[in-house]
């Protein structure tokens, strides 16, 4: 199988704290990989390095063979990685349509002069983009809310919109940062279906960070477990469930009387 993202010997320290220590993992094309670990394990730090917010001290991140660890977040997005945020970051005062439009217009070349003079060609282009956005929203049955302000949406719908917005940048790899955070059982079930759906529909590779073990165990193809900045295990959900080191990291050492 083709390895899409390869992370090798990643290191990052904040002052004296080694947040990420020699972490290495890979994601196959069309795979759903889960990245898990207890609080403070370094999941989000790894995430932020993959999406370009932190530069690693050493190590490499390769997307389809080319190194991306020194690129800025917008360049990383253009190279094919989109992400969502643990605490939803929509453009609250903009409409649902505009949220998607901003993402989609970055993939398109809209010239300065055309927009200055507002030529017919530009107006048509913009119309086409808006229709494209509506099509995308329709797939997720959000199109009836297109003109609603994003901050007025319910929590679950805001999550959904954030995923739609990420998809609008036409990514090959989608990174979801704790998408089930703050969701009830029913919403988590819907999210599960949604993740399956987008993975098939858009032929995506998905990297998932999640606390909800039930969700992770039921949908991920493979898991990577971090603890205190180091990778401690890797394997299928079944293997991870029975892995002594993982259980120890989560629950502490078994005491022997």
């Amino acid at each position: 199988m083709n390895k899409m993202l390869v992370v090798e010997n990643l290191n990052l320290s904040f002052g004296g704290i080694k947040a990420v220590d020699q972490v290495h993992f890979y994601i196959n094309e069309n795979e759903l990989l889960g990245l898990i670990g207890p609080n403070g394990a370094g999941k989000t730090t790894v995430f932020n390095m993959v999406s370009g917010f932190y530069n690693p001290d050493s190590g490499s991140i390769k997307l389809n063979g080319s190194e991306i660890q020194s690129l800025s977040p917008d360049q990383i997005n253009k190279s094919g990685i989109a992400r969502t945020f643990q605490n939803i970051r929509l453009f609250g005062k903009l409409s649902v349509l505009e949220n998607v439009l901003i993402a989609i217009q970055q993939t398109e070349k809209l010239g300065w002069f055309e927009s200055l003079f507002r030529t017919q060609k530009y107006i048509n282009k913009e119309k086409a983009l808006k229709n494209h956005c509506l099509d995308l929203l329709r797939i997720f049955s959000l199109d009836h809310l297109a003109n609603e302000q994003a901050c007025n949406l319910s929590y679950g719908l805001q999550r959904k919109l954030e995923i739609v917005r990420a998809l609008a940048t036409k990514p090959k790899l989608l990174i979801l940062d704790e998408p089930a955070a703050g969701m009830n059982h029913q919403e988590t079930e819907d999210l599960k279906k949604l993740i399956y759906f987008i993975k098939e529909k858009f032929k995506l590779t998905v990297l998932l960070i999640e606390h909800d073990m039930k969700l992770v165990m039921s949908i991920c193809d493979r898991l990577v477990v971090l603890n205190r900045g180091c990778k401690i295990a890797e394997g299928t959900p079944q293997e991870i469930k029975t892995n002594e080191t993982v259980i120890e990291a989560y629950l502490g050492k078994r005491s022997h009387h």
Binding site: P73, R83, F85, L90, F91, L94, I102, Q105, Q106, L116
Partner: protein
Amino acid sequence: MKNKKIIFLISFVAIGVICHLFLNSYIQALVITFMINAIMALSLNFITGVANQFSLGQAGFMALGAYTSAVLTKEFLGDVWYVIPVTALAGACVSAAAGFLVSLPSFKLKGDYLAIVTMGFAEIVRVILLNWNHVGGPRGYNAIAKWPEFILSYAATGSYLIITFIVLYHLKISWFGRNLWAINEDEIAAEVMGTAVAKNKRAAFLVSSFFAGLGGALYGHHLGYISPGSFSFLMSVQILIYAVFGGLGSMSGSVLSAFILTALPEVLRSLPTGGLDLRMIIFPVLLIIMMILRPEGLLGRRELFASKEGSHE
């Protein structure tokens, strides 16, 4: 749509002709002052209202435009009025270059911090001009080419106001304006969506300082005299008042508020207050009432017209 444009153009010409033939030079000067104020308000509104980068240095850009254009006409081009439209553009370009330079170190700053940097920039420009004897130093720069007739001044300044309005309004409603709005809402999210944040912010600064320089150049040729004192901090604040009063983010609001705030002190001047100069009390009181009743300005982010084309004075 076509009709509206034609009606607007006809009324623009008609107002000019009426002012030229029937009104005294006091009113004529006020009309030009209003137009220059409107250009300045628009330029600030773009950087502060649309791009949400708080600038208090608009007077500095204005000074650069004014001095560049004045020196060009007087020293190199024979002090004739018909080169003014071109030298004004040159002044605008110099100001835009300065705006770009200012944006390089400051694109990571926001709010008050950016305001301090831009304010510092304007002060630097003012102090350099103050100590530069070749352009008059503190005495100011005298006898700059002026428009011989009101109608010429009206046509040139008015055309530049219309161009400024159309350009900035089109940018506001285009992809660029949307990018800036997204950056304003959530910089990190915008970046992750593929928006080049620094590039967009720099471009916004460039555009804004270009038009501030243009307004400054027209200001110099309108008065025929400029001095470093004309471009003090107070001028920046005055421009800021215009933009905030009209509504940050509303282009037509800026033009409207430039009109109201240019006319109001003059209207108040004629109030029978028995020798007391009450207008400088009434004016700020009106502004304070406005701040309490409509903190978002006259129009907020909206525009005066619902359709997509046309501008009005």
